[in-house]
Structures are given as structure tokens and as C-alpha cells.
């Protein structure tokens, strides 16, 4: 058993050594590369005042502006995909979307199935309360998730 434990420890040390490479962690479905190549696909679920889907299909509101700033900062072309919340989340769970903004509830069944950004620092009005709002991210895309949260934290956009 001692020899087995030593072998296990050696294997783990090797593994952790390998993970010290610069592109770690990575995405399960190359979401970061996809955003750069084919555009960043973001689902928008109408949820005023945070995210407003206008009748002509354009998307506005503070959360939409935040995502636009993120896309601009990385040179991604932002593609808005307005839709119903459940349909968008189903797409997100299969890693077909880069994010879903608006329409999230703390007790939603999607809570455990997808990833969540750090809580945003957004207020409906300058002296309004600070609700815990997050952007939904595709599960298993560690590099994408980490980059997004680092951006939020770096700009003071995360709580």
C-alpha cells in the first residue's frame, strides 16, 4: 500500500507539473477560440431594466453594455441571440452559446447545470440596491469562464 501511495503521489506531481503550462485551464469545447473566429454568441432574455430586448431585435441595458465592453476589449464580434430563457439555457448547457444574460432566478433548475460569472456590480439607478446578478456561462469551459471573471474583477465590475 505504501508503494501504491508513493506511485500515486508521483503521478499527481507529474500531472500538476504538466498543468503549470501557460494555457491551463482550457475549454472542453474551444469556446475561446470560437469567440475569436466565429464571434461571441450571447443569448439575451428580456429582463428590464438590466437587459432589454427591443421590438426591432436590438439589445440594451447595463448587462448588455457590459458584455459589449467585454467583446470589444478582446476583439470579439458580439452576436446577440434574443430568445426565451429556457431555450437559451438549453443551448448554453450544450456549449452552443458563450453566455446568457437576463431572466435568471436563484431557484431556477438551471442553477446547477451551467456556470455562473462572479456577481456583477450593477445598479438599476445610481443609488439603488445592489442585487446579486450574474451572467450564465457554458459549463466545462474553464479558460473562457476564467477570462470572463478576471475581466469583471479587473474592471471592478464584479462584487
Amino acid at each position: 500500500m505504501t508503494r501504491l501511495a508513493i506511485a500515486a503521489a508521483a503521478a499527481l506531481a507529474l500531472l500538476l507539473g504538466l498543468t503549470a503550462c501557460h494555457d491551463y485551464p482550457r475549454d472542453a469545447d474551444d469556446m475561446t477560440a470560437q469567440a475569436a473566429g466565429r464571434g461571441m454568441r450571447v443569448g439575451a432574455s428580456h429582463d428590464p431594466p438590466w437587459l432589454v430586448v427591443l421590438p426591432d431585435g436590438r439589445v440594451g441595458g447595463p448587462e448588455a453594455e457590459l458584455l459589449q465592453r467585454y467583446a470589444d476589449a478582446h476583439g470579439y464580434r458580439l452576436i446577440w441571440l434574443p430568445g426565451s430563457h429556457d431555450a437559451l439555457m438549453a443551448e448554453l448547457e450544450r456549449a452552443h452559446l458563450h453566455a446568457v444574460a437576463g431572466g435568471h432566478h436563484a431557484d431556477s433548475p438551471w442553477q446547477a447545470k451551467v456556470g455562473w460569472s462572479r456577481p456583477l456590480v450593477l445598479r438599476a439607478s445610481p443609488d439603488g440596491p445592489l442585487p446579486e446578478r450574474r451572467i450564465a456561462l457554458p459549463p466545462g469551459q474553464s479558460a473562457w469562464h476564467l477570462a470572463f471573471d478576471r475581466y469583471l474583477a479587473g474592471r471592478g465590475d464584479a462584487q
Binding site: M1, L12, L15, P25, P139, S142, H145
Partner: protein, 316 residues
């Protein structure tokens, strides 16, 4: 002769074994404490990793053998009374069954979770955490928690294995197997989380599946042995590799007695001890001869503290 005199007294243990049993009890109490802390730590550090969730389930299940051991030991100490006329030696046999079921349950939980993850192609979610103002990948926290969680089972498991040998106590041996399953699952969890970091969403589940084969093997072997022991089957060595040599040695020593016409022993495991009957081929038997046989058994091993002696009067 009063009813009290007919009842056997509680079965005493030699001082060394009594001390070992007390140490085993303390070890099990420490197990409950440490593994509860580990389970709490895992709960707060786990993300969506299946292996991590399974490791938590396993930590909770691994409390079961130690808890059962403490209950069994307490129950056994109560000894003989109006209700339990032959004492409560079998408490440890029940403990053995419970431990074996827990170990098998751990293995089955692992297989179920891994297969479900693979079948549904679920991408395990590993998010981020804030540590001292820095956003870091949660995988690092999970790996640290898993590595930390492997330390208590390695230490506790080794100590339990040593005590199980001193006491020839199978439930303690199974508890040590559960500890082994614990740290192996933690190691598999680390490989799984590191794999997720490489973008291999299935790494987690495959690592858990690989470990579950070994755990299920241990669980099934223990389960079979527990069922055997409850049927008073032929005694086996502690690691269940082969029959216990004690019955044959007892028979050999008894056969060496000058007045002996031949003997057969039929022993079974009863908690810490071996109980059973020695059948002699003699036509007659005196009280002194019976006591002589019993003395040989007691001198041979502390586990043979009480054997019955009878005549095998079949005509053949």
C-alpha cells in the same frame, strides 16, 4: 443449579487484545471526527465535478463502518444478560456486514455517477473563486481540497489495518479497505479535475470508473465474507485469502493426546473469537479429559477461549 450458573460468563479478552480494542475504538472516534471535517471541506470547495461529488458521498459513507464499530463495541461490552443468553459476540459480525454494504455502496455510487456523466455528456462545471482579491480557477481549490482529504484516510487506514491484524477483526479490516477506497477516490478526483482543466470533460468520470472497479471488487469480497461468517462457515484468515489454519492446528494437537482415538473440529467465527465443537471418536469421556482438550485449545490461541467437547458416536 440456578439459571445464572447455566449462562456462560462474558468472554474476556487477553490484556493485549483488550488494549488493541480500546485503541481501535479511539481510532474510529477520530475517524468520525476527521472524516466529518473532510466532508464539510469537500462540500464547500466542490464545483460541478462528478468525481468531487462522489468523493463527498464516499466520505459520508465511510463514516458508517466506524460508527457501526463503535456501536458494536459498546453493544458487545454489555455482555450476557437475561435476553442475550450467549453474550453479544456477534455484534462485530453485524458490523462486518454493515461495513461491507457501505463499501459496496461506495463502489456502486461511483459507477452510477460516472456512467450517467458519460451517457449524458455532461460538461462538469468548474468555475472561479476569489482568493485575496484574485480570481483563480476553482479547480485549484478542488485539487487542494481533494489532496487534503486523502491524508486522514491514509493515516487512519494504515493504523486500522495494523489493529485488525492484532485483533483478527474483519470489520476493522473492511473499515481499512474503506479508507483505502477514500484516498483512491480522492486521487482519482484530482486526476479528473486536472483533466477537466485540460478540456477533457470525460476525464473526471473515467477516473472515477477506473477506481470503482477496485472498490467494487473489495466490496463484493467483503460482502461475500460477511455472509459466510453469519452462516458459521469455515473460518477464514483476516484477509479472506485462505482458510484459517487454527482449526487444523487444534485438531493436530488434540490428536497427539495419548488416550485419543481420533477427533474432528467444527469451528466458526463469532465476533473476535472462534467457537464450535470438538468431536472425539472415543467411546467414553471423563470430565478431566474434556478439561484437558479445552486447556489445549486455550493454550493454542486466545481466540479459542471456549470450545465444546463432545463424543462422535456414529458407527462406521
Amino acid at each position: 443449579m440456578s439459571a445464572d450458573r447455566q449462562r456462560p460468563p462474558p468472554r474476556e479478552l487477553p490484556p493485549a487484545q483488550r488494549e488493541a480494542l480500546a485503541r481501535a475504538e479511539r481510532l474510529c472516534a477520530w475517524t468520525l471526527l476527521w472524516m466529518s471535517l473532510v466532508a464539510a471541506m469537500m462540500y464547500f470547495s466542490m464545483g460541478g465535478s462528478q468525481a468531487m461529488k462522489t468523493a463527498l458521498i464516499e466520505d459520508l459513507l465511510s463514516l458508517l463502518p466506524s460508527a457501526a464499530f463503535l456501536v458494536a463495541s459498546w453493544f458487545r461490552r454489555k455482555g450476557v444478560d437475561e435476553e442475550y443468553l450467549s453474550g453479544r459476540e456477534r455484534a462485530f459480525d453485524i458490523n462486518f456486514l454493515i461495513s461491507a454494504v457501505a463499501l459496496t455502496g461506495v463502489g456502486l455510487a461511483l459507477v452510477y455517477d460516472s456512467l450517467r456523466t458519460l451517457a449524458t455528456a455532461t460538461r462538469p462545471e468548474v468555475g472561479t473563486v476569489m482568493v485575496a482579491g484574485h480570481v483563480i480557477w476553482q479547480g485549484w481549490v478542488m485539487i487542494a481540497a481533494l489532496a487534503l482529504s486523502a491524508v486522514p484516510p491514509v493515516i487512519l487506514g494504515r493504523r486500522k489495518m495494523a489493529l485488525a491484524r492484532t485483533l483478527s477483526l474483519k470489520p476493522l479490516h473492511t473499515d481499512a479497505d474503506v479508507s483505502k477506497a477514500d484516498w483512491m477516490t480522492a486521487a482519482a478526483g484530482i486526476v479528473g479535475v486536472a483533466g477537466i482543466g485540460f478540456g477533457l470533460w470525460w476525464a473526471d468520470a473515467v477516473a472515477a470508473l477506473a477506481i470503482s472497479a477496485s472498490i467494487l471488487h473489495d466490496g463484493a469480497a467483503n460482502l461475500r465474507a460477511a455472509v459466510r461468517d453469519l452462516h458459521d462457515a469455515r473460518p477464514q484468515k483476516l484477509d479472506r485469502s485462505e482458510p484459517d489454519p487454527l482449526p487444523d492446528r487444534l485438531c493436530a494437537e488434540i490428536s497427539a493426546l495419548p488416550w485419543m482415538d481420533g477427533c474432528a473440529v467444527r469451528l466458526h467465527e463469532e465476533g473476535l473469537h472462534l467457537s464450535g465443537i470438538v468431536l472425539l471418536r472415543n467411546r467414553t469421556l471423563t470430565a478431566a479429559q474434556v478439561e484437558e482438550v479445552r486447556a489445549i485449545a486455550r493454550a493454542l490461541d486466545w481466540r479459542l477461549d471456549r470450545v465444546d467437547v463432545s463424543l462422535d458416536l456414529r458407527d462406521d
